[in-house]
Symmetry: C4
Subunit: 257 residues, 4 copies
């Protein structure tokens, strides 16, 4: 394997499909949202993407079976609307700069072959968020962006960088004559954040005009919140200790050269 | 040299050979096991593998001779069973991600040319092991895995990563229509661990249906255990010192910003 | 995108143009100077440069639009002199060694296609400078260097390295039969330094025989100087604290193993 | 520039030349020795080597001129012996693993084109050496090694690695049907070490059967020894301070978590 490639498992006919991309990233927001969609919609896997730019380890599956790191394309035939969906997620992002460009290129090329004209990438946006996470939007196409803002996303601040595949796909889409939108859920980012994923899915279902029951995410959210509370208690405790030590130490500064 | 390549020293005719791979890795378990097999079976070197992805130094051999870092293929004609063996080990793993994929690819391609249909990779599995190290198994093929479990290997936990060539070969084998099994000996991993290698060889001889006298490993094991004991004594001593210091320091916390 | 490439937006006819290059670097000196020229001369963008060696993120522009990291060529038709100008700046330098060489190559090749025979690269030169920053010059061509020295640049010390695109362009120019000059403004380098950029532009306008009103830079300079003063106050305060601690600690050295 | 290449400045006819290689490395031993030979023999530059794997900066020469990092081949016509010499040194080693292999390959290929059948690489060997540095030898060819041992080099310990171009050239020479010898001068390695270079040249002139007046190195050696003494005084002073602090601290251990 010298280059990133897509292995098709099945030929499918889709009606002007929209591609939703969510590889692992900040707070795993994009991956959690995309996986929830795949399960909830019972989307079917029809192609896999492999790359020598993924990390050099393999994973053991159930029953001791082994597989390369990979990403996969799933499809869902939309019974009501005019756009079928292709959903894309995977184990990892590329580990090299050149790999990041190569994988984003490969995703767009495969999507175009399936008739995709619109791509929506999902990810996290680092913020010290306490209340309901907002969803930040940026796009290559003003119409697409308008749709996102009408669905209660907010406009991305100017100059803000979007790192990795969720960003590069938009940067490259322009050259490939594809429209692309990026939705980023606000997240503190240091643990998997299903709450930010839920915010994204609320916006996404409005844009796509489909109904998704998001209740299934609430159990994950409760679990994550307990973890956050625990971490905060530990942090507060540590801060108190440090403060206590600082007072005792006030005129006992130790200088480390 | 722009790419990994294999230099054949000798043409050999082998009967449906099985490839055993053991490059250096955690606790050098795979390499120790493979080298023991090579010596014990008096396997003969018949091909070398070179790569510009190995580290950029050379080694001085006996008598001041010099050689590039390399790995090598050895063969053993099995007088009783129906499968000859090819044994593969070397100085180093690849130093880059792309190199890891390239070298694993090259090994499989060369093995296929020799008629190999089954590959067994050997390595270490990090664990705080005190008693006899267990052997963890994962495979691309349920029949092969079953054989390993019957030989008293235990099933790998789900989601566990296998890093480096021992893992990648299994990940890539699927695309090359080769069956592959990975056997990992439990090891603390911070020093060469012949005990874990012995556990692997006990499993391996049952799978292969050959008898290997493993007594030769016991001297190495005794030596390694003395080293471990010494390290443990040092660690315990240090822990005591730290505890002693901690008590004295109890209300004298020094904060380093 | 596998390689660095230039996308032309518009065909232009220029009279023996001179290329001015100023990518981000030490103190952002080259970029600040080049951007000031572009705005002041109302130079027009006519080509973009993209590269898979730029960092793997995208930027959000005004109105939530997204773009890849890029650099761009601008042109200015000189109403009085005999040389039109091409101005080149961008978001980033290449992130890999090979990328640095590839991008510098691409810039020179594109410039030559536009009829460029002379390139002037701009950057920063690290120095603890208090007064007016001097401008350091080095060149591939003694005539060009002489012009810079007559314009009050000073000769670069021998053996001094020039890192990144501003340097590599000169190194490669020799092979492409292009003359090149490098002007480096002295800068402490740890914050954007418009004062060093102003020094460069003073030299540059003499070399080019054009008049540029540099007053527009003075506001940026005042702002940067306030920031520097603030940082210096903080540093002095910290130095005092350390000195105070050192005295108290004199016979209380803590040894960290 | 996509690949390492050699630019010939002049066609020369040499009688079965021997190549001496000395790029910068440990203690700059190889480079100091090779440069001394070039100056002393008044060898003439006849080819340059450039590479995109050298670091991405350029150097300012005398008179503000600029040049890419490079290495160069010099020749010397031996008036007495039967072997002319080619001497190779430069600014830097390659910065990437692949670059290291590529540059070593390019050096050997160019040397073969000039009729070279024997290569001698020079470098440093890390050792806490107080007296006269010894010269360690390793070779691809027993005859060549024997010559070095007769010239009072000592045999390299088995298993010792030789890092970088001085080693890789020997590793690759075997594939190119060239004989190669490596001479490493013992050096502490943390400052340029002309004494180790002198030891190498003493061995080298015996092997080559030429006389080189080495007195010119003694001034450099005296200077380097003063520097070493100064560093040692500083180290001893520091050790005393630490010991003093340790005694005071004996039952005041500070534990940094």
């Amino acid at each position: 394997m010298k280059e990133t490639f897509v292995k098709e498992l099945k030929q499918v006919q889709l009606r002007t499909p929209i591609l939703i991309e969510g590889l692992p990233g900040l707070g795993l927001v994009g991956k959690i949202a995309t996986r929830y969609l795949i399960r909830h919609l019972k989307a079917e896997k029809f192609a896999k993407l492999y790359s020598p730019h993924f990390p050099y380890y393999v994973l053991v599956n159930k029953r001791g079976n082994i597989r390369l790191l990979q990403a996969a394309f799933y499809y869902w035939k939309n019974p009501n609307g005019e756009n079928d969906l292709i959903l894309f997620t995977g184990d990892s992002q590329a580990q090299t700069i050149e790999g990041q460009y190569e994988i984003s290129d490969t995703i767009i090329e495969f999507a175009k072959k399936q008739g995709v004209k619109t791509i929506i990438t999902l990810g996290g946006y680092r913020k010290e968020v306490d209340a309901k996470p907002k969803v930040i939007a940026a796009a290559t196409d003003p119409k697409l962006l308008k749709k996102a803002l009408e669905a209660e996303a907010i406009l991305s601040p100017t100059g803000s960088p979007i790192v990795g595949t969720a960003g590069l796909i938009l940067g490259l889409a322009r050259f490939k004559k594809v429209s692309a939108l990026c939705l980023l859920g606000e997240t503190r980012g240091y643990i998997p954040d299903p709450k930010a994923a839920k915010s994204i899915l609320e916006v996404l279902q409005k844009i796509l005009g489909i109904n998704i029951d998001l209740a299934g995410l609430d159990k994950q959210i409760a679990k994550a919140e307990k973890l956050v509370e625990k971490i905060q208690r530990i942090e507060e405790e540590r801060a108190k200790q440090v403060e206590k030590a600082r007072r005792k130490d006030e005129d006992r500064i130790t200088y480390i050269s």
